[in-house]
């Protein structure tokens, strides 16, 4: 009973040492300062336009702020989280403390979960520290609290997924530097790679037709865009179409103008599921991300929990059965929620 109530020693240790010194506070300050500057910049642009006589609707300001803040925060989280988790296990190996750790009764799975929780605590601190900044949006309106909550949830899922990827690389690589580089390269491959797939498909398509690619579903930026744009275009997009094309009536900076710039102009609000029994339906990209990211995180954690073992790495045990059931559960429930045809048919 005592063991159950006992906090994970790794979490206690990590929180004690991680929050020491100026660095964590400097990162937090820099992060908030960066986001504040983004907000300030957006406000200045609107202010300048208002001074030039453009009719500025308060909702536009809110939407512009929301879009810029959400995407900037995604960018920061995607690139800060691996920096925090990629050293989790490899640094123990580098500092030659790994042997000391595995000679204790602490199970490798507990080492891993402790490391993840400790690293994510810090990232969560970053995300939640920015919430007051995000509340400025509500002053201007134009964005529903529901959309704010959606963006926050996506941000959290993105942080966990990026963190898990970093953790997996950390267990695989012997050196922290190598783990960090591999993590960033993989993230870049996911973000830039999916974008290039879309570009290639757009370029190879017949002129005038709109192309949507499922590759978009993996990029956190594309997923976040699909949330922030929902707020920006009242009434929603036409099914299956690119949202932000067509001539704009006025060259005015707002969220829509931001979305007309590359790479956002190639992002889409939703993907069309033609195989749906109820006829083609459009699924917003972020909904795919809500399912894909937890699934990705689970698989990364599953792999890492094997690699982290000092011996008999790939021997299967009860934990593998639990993980398999968990993966199937998330995939099944997620697939049903997304109304993916194969899943729904299987479940029926």
């Amino acid at each position: 009973m005592y063991r159950v109530l006992q906090p994970n020693p790794i979490v206690v240790k990590e929180l004690r040492s991680r929050m020491r010194g100026g660095r964590p506070y400097m990162i937090l300050t820099g992060y908030l300062l960066g986001l504040s500057l983004v907000c300030f910049g957006i406000l200045r642009v609107f202010e300048g336009q208002a001074q030039n006589g453009a009719p500025i609707i308060s909702a536009h300001v809110g939407q512009g702020l929301f879009a810029a803040l959400a995407l900037a925060e995604t960018l920061l989280i995607v690139f800060l989280t691996p920096a925090v988790t990629a050293g989790a296990i490899s640094s123990e190996r580098e500092q030659l403390t790994y042997d000391l750790l595995i000679a204790t009764p602490l199970r490798p799975s507990r080492i891993l979960s402790g490391k993840l929780v400790a690293a994510l605590w810090y990232v969560l601190l970053l995300i939640f520290a920015a919430v007051p900044l995000g509340s400025v949006i509500l002053l201007f309106g134009g964005v529903s609290p529901r959309d704010l909550a959606k963006a926050l949830l996506l941000l959290l899922l993105t942080a966990v997924a990026a963190g898990m990827l970093g953790l997996l690389c950390s267990t695989l690589a012997r050196r922290t530097l190598r783990a960090t580089i591999i993590t960033y390269l993989l993230i870049l491959a996911i973000v830039v790679g999916s974008y290039f797939v879309v570009l290639l498909r757009t370029a190879s398509a017949q002129p005038g037709t709109t192309v949507t690619s499922r590759a978009l579903a993996v990029s956190p930026f594309s997923a976040m865009t699909s949330i922030v744009m929902r707020g920006a275009t009242p009434g929603g997009p036409a099914p299956g179409g690119m949202m932000f094309d067509g001539p704009r009536p006025m060259m005015m900076f707002d969220a829509n103008m931001l979305m007309n710039m590359p790479p956002f102009n190639n992002f889409t609000y939703g993907l069309i599921d033609y195989n749906n029994p109820n006829g083609p339906v459009v699924q917003p990209v972020y909904r795919y991300a809500y399912v894909a990211y937890p699934l990705f995180s689970l698989i990364c954690y599953w792999l890492a929990s094997h690699v982290v073992r000092p011996r008999r790495r790939w021997r299967l045990g009860l934990i593998d059965l639990v993980m398999l059931l968990l993966v199937l559960l998330v995939a099944g429930v997620g697939g049903y929620w997304l109304e993916i045809d194969t899943v729904t048919r299987f479940l029926r």
Partner: protein, 332 residues
Amino acid sequence: MTAAIETTNLTKRYGRTVALDQLNLRVQPGTIYGFIGPNGAGKTTTLRMVAGLLEPSAGQVRLLGERLDRDGRTSQRLVGYMPDFFGVYDDLRVWEYLDFFARCHNLPGAKRRSTVEGLLELVDLTPKRDAFVQSLSRGMQQRLCLAHALVHDPPILLLDEPASGLDPRARVELRELLRTLRDMGKTIILSSHILSELAEVCTEMGIMQGGHLVASGTLAEVQRQLGGERQLRFSVLRGVEQARVILAGTAGAGRIDQLEIDTSHSPITSEPTTAHLPELHASATTLSVVWSGDAEATASLISRLVTAGVALTSVVDETNDLEELFLQLTAA
């Protein structure tokens, strides 16, 4: 009596390389056992397997009669392990470091606090309680690492190269600490590639070479197993022939070698180097005799030589020739 540590045909292979070949070792409780051998002899491999950190390719380990289980639970409970190269966590205070490992061993709150304080006292780090771990000297870090291996009060301690990198004073302190721990009833296995580090503190030792245990036992036993001979060395100024006759006729004396100069170990056949030496030593001859007599017999032999008119300048009883044997062995 159940051995504290018993290995049966313990073998570790890395691909085609055999790091440890069929080690059969028995260490009785309360022993300070020293593994001596050059780098790569298999000392660390052995310790890591006993600590449950490395899986043997063949053979088995028993700790206090219990066979090592597959997930390493037995060794985690019974063994305190200090690796040869260990790190310390930056940004952690000394007490927090020990507190962390106490938590890892599931020590409840009050017990954890008293253990941490007790261990700080034991390794003499109480004044450094709130210092950051990275600010400690090498010797202090070594003691802290030793303390971390003791948080769960294990009956067996495995210390890999505990004396490496320590200054002479820290070495003496370590030796004292090891004796204290033995008095507390712990069985200690330690390793070193330097014999003199261990000879004083170990009650038993094993000499390893190329993955084999070449000799094992008390100092005297190891010496005998290695074929080490006790020798008496007489520096004779005059009367060499007379001395030879007396030595040849004495019970307990064996082979006699004649060396040209008292400081040289080379036999007479080698090139004479006397020209470089001061005149006083120039004519001194060393007679070396393999000797098995006791102290009484040695005294009587010296007295007979002197009475017979042999001019002696010194007599050396070379009992501790182990270092030399060890060097010969490990050079081979």
